[in-house]
Symmetry: C2
Amino acid sequence: MLTAEIIAIGSELLTPERVDTNSLWLTDRLNRLGIEVKLKTIVGDDDARLEEAVRDALKRSRIIITTGGLGPTEDDITRKTVARALARRLLLDERVLQTIRERFIAMGRAMPEINARQAMIIEGAEALPNPHGTAPGLYLEHDGRAVVLLPGPPREMRPMFETYVAPKLEAKGGGVRVVRRILRVAGMGESAVDERIAPVYTQYKNPTTTILFNRAEVEIHLTARAASEQEAELLLDGLAGQIEERLGDAIFAFRGETMEEVVGLRLAVGGYTVAVAESCTGGLVAQRLTDVPGSSAYFLEGVVAYSNEAKTRTLGVPPELIARHGAVSAPVAEAMAEGVRRLTDADFGLAVTGIAGPTGGTPEKPVGLVFIALADDAHTEHKRLLLPGDRQLIRWRASQATLDLLRRRLI
Amino acid sequence: MLTAEIIAIGSELLTPERVDTNSLWLTDRLNRLGIEVKLKTIVGDDDARLEEAVRDALKRSRIIITTGGLGPTEDDITRKTVARALARRLLLDERVLQTIRERFIAMGRAMPEINARQAMIIEGAEALPNPHGTAPGLYLEHDGRAVVLLPGPPREMRPMFETYVAPKLEAKGGGVRVVRRILRVAGMGESAVDERIAPVYTQYKNPTTTILFNRAEVEIHLTARAASEQEAELLLDGLAGQIEERLGDAIFAFRGETMEEVVGLRLAVGGYTVAVAESCTGGLVAQRLTDVPGSSAYFLEGVVAYSNEAKTRTLGVPPELIARHGAVSAPVAEAMAEGVRRLTDADFGLAVTGIAGPTGGTPEKPVGLVFIALADDAHTEHKRLLLPGDRQLIRWRASQATLDLLRRRLI
């Protein structure tokens, strides 16, 4: 299998705030072309260290991709430093210079002299056009290695890779295609999922299976290799089908969709409407549902009834019910779901009440205790949950379980 | 200045999904100790490449920190590979083994034999206790370099660094302390902020100033170096004071606090209550306000009035007003703010209505048009915004502006 390494260049990438997201995107694209990323280096605007990183990379990898450092300023050292590491000259490319000039003219400005530097091309390299910026990329082959220099801004880097680099690397890759699929699971823990599906996925070397715990969700990542995307998809269909047999409804997404997208689609297709009454989640369920474009077709109203008065006044929860069972209880959750449904005339009323912490817990009602409820015209159901995690995680998990309750009803 | 490099180990860090967040945290801590991070390498569970990475690091850096690969399985190669790169032996440490055994006994289990591997210590290294897991860290000095091996899970890595590693590195750092402060700005663009404060901050080499655009917020990062934290804080106070003179109320946080924390604190201190009526933000304003622990003291109720019926029914917005001006209009925003205040008897009623897109825009009312309003017992005000960005960004920016409207009233 072909291997690559990525060198991200820029002193800002060595601060506590900035993540090198380019390499994640590139890794995904490279993987799809059957190319594995074996190493990533992040280096500042530092001649000596960059030259060393490129030299080291040339020794061990067939494909080397750099991002960043192609701008017009002194800090932008990638062109000259990579040239030095390759022992090649930098030459001014008149055609590239003309393109950069024209770009400035089109913006109604004269080209600043420093931008001429961006027309310097490593001897033997091909300049890769950049319709979204002034810095061209570079592609060259050196001792059987492919060396690719890409600009740092994602909106310049991504289309350049797709248009000019991917086809070249695909030709090198020997026709292997790698396709990934993400299955998402609700209401089950990581080890429970693994126990259920290990007998299936361990029988396959292709696709490979990884179980990840991402925030409060279990994700099953399937990766298939084949001569074509279609063939890889068929392999994925086969394994995904067997996993579905084992997990059933617990899988809510087969293509990486979010819970709110899945629920939204089912509501839209069925022509149903929904309204939400929330306490401990503080608006998160409504916010997730309305994150989906077009959600106004099915989302009618949300009530964040944080105080007991709000539960009574807006949702019509009887004060006696709260006095008898407490605000965090199954009867109150059900009354909230019925109340918001009555208020809005929605097909479904969803409700959640609980203790997100860090304070407010008692021995009988600890932090993490959450009741969720769903009401429709026929009946009302509830579920009691005891969720681990900090305040934010409890709120997120509660919102996920609430949406999942509706999803299961809609199946 | 002392320089460090970080090597993150684990094949999962070379997938498209996983970011090496440990190195961000470590960079922040190292910077505070006056140590600059000059290079980061991310390598898989791959003996040859890891050994090379460690050898290269020893050639150029005074401090080398690895994270990950200290687990008990075959995949966990850090101990043995670093030992090889240093040409040192691995020795079983009976005391460490005993600690691991006791940890399992405390959990009511026998230690699996493979965990004995975690008691193998590189010759001459100090084992760093791990109260949150079985893998001890390692610290050693080699040819004047500090080599530190830390576990991958953040909840194990972070306290281990703070307790055992930071004091050792501090001693090496020659007493330079670096302190950072984050000022957050609302309602101004990046270049407007820069124009206003450049005449001030360019006069200082210490602290240094960086202006960052983070999501929809402008952040001003100040970094001071001094012999002590107190001295650095004084330098920061001086510059922050001058920046405040230039920006005034636009700065909402001087210590990196979030907008919802700042607003929440002011509400709590003043003994005020708030209620929120939202349309395009779909619950985000309520969710952000209630993200703050203890927010039940001031947050009474939120209404996500997505449909026109909800605006009329729950908030009492006159249907004629919606018919005449449209749901996205200043009069409707004000009526929503007054309505939710009337409904809940809160001191402040906040409202937001707008077009988050991607659809629903018209030439007169384009995507990004948002009206926000604030009502108290004396009067009601509104603001018209035209926000750039995609759906999520427009929603976030609208929520930020809404909270900021209340913040400015509370000053």
